[in-house]
Amino acid sequence: MKKNLVNHKSEQTEINVSPLIDMVFILLIFFIVATSFVNEIGISSAYKDSNSKSDNPKPPLFFNLSGSGQVINNGTTIGLEGVAAKVRNFSTHEPPSVIIQVSKGAKAGLATQVMDQALLAGAKAVKLSVDSK
């Protein structure tokens, strides 16, 4: 009898935590939903700014992207497949920096693929620039 009485007393002094749990759960679910884990994959060209040319005495390798989607190096059309070979054969000592000059009308997908091929072939830096011609 006495034990029951004690139990009854302690139950009365307890704080009712159910609303607290409800609230915390709602906050938890809100933050779980709001946390958007953006996981992108892609390429980083990691080039230096075009102004700081002093530390790069080697001339860069130029590719031109024509408006009709051709990849041109030194006046000859090489296509996307020829980019990696050009970058590899450009210099035996050190990987070249690559500048891709895009003309109006060239597609960004092609420019990205040329950048990718150049980086794959070991180009140290790839830079996009607009062909002013």
Partner: protein, 126 residues
Amino acid sequence: MDEEDGAINVSPLIDVVFILLIFFIVSATFVNLPGIDVSRPKVQNASSLQKNSVLFALSDKSEIFHSGKIVKLSDVSPLINKAMKDKNKPVVIQVDKWADATVLTELVSEAKKVAHSVSLATLKNR
């Protein structure tokens, strides 16, 4: 006896939930998604980009999107500065493969003025 009362001891549950809550509050970085779907170019050596970045998208009609709105090229660097809040986040551009490459070039160079790293989001080539 506790079982006789039918009461479950909820204190450990609250502890765990609080820890989870604090984890999610701390790790919550409210990323502004650009708001459009682009068809990304396929490349061969794509790597995982840094999380918690400032996102831009370039649509196939060569419009620049940031957090659901079309923005002008001249607004890009102020927007990056605003989004960074002097934390120097990387910039990720989701580029559509049919976008104009000259616009992409201008966007990259504009972003490069204020951000230390500018990357292009792509598909992994399989």
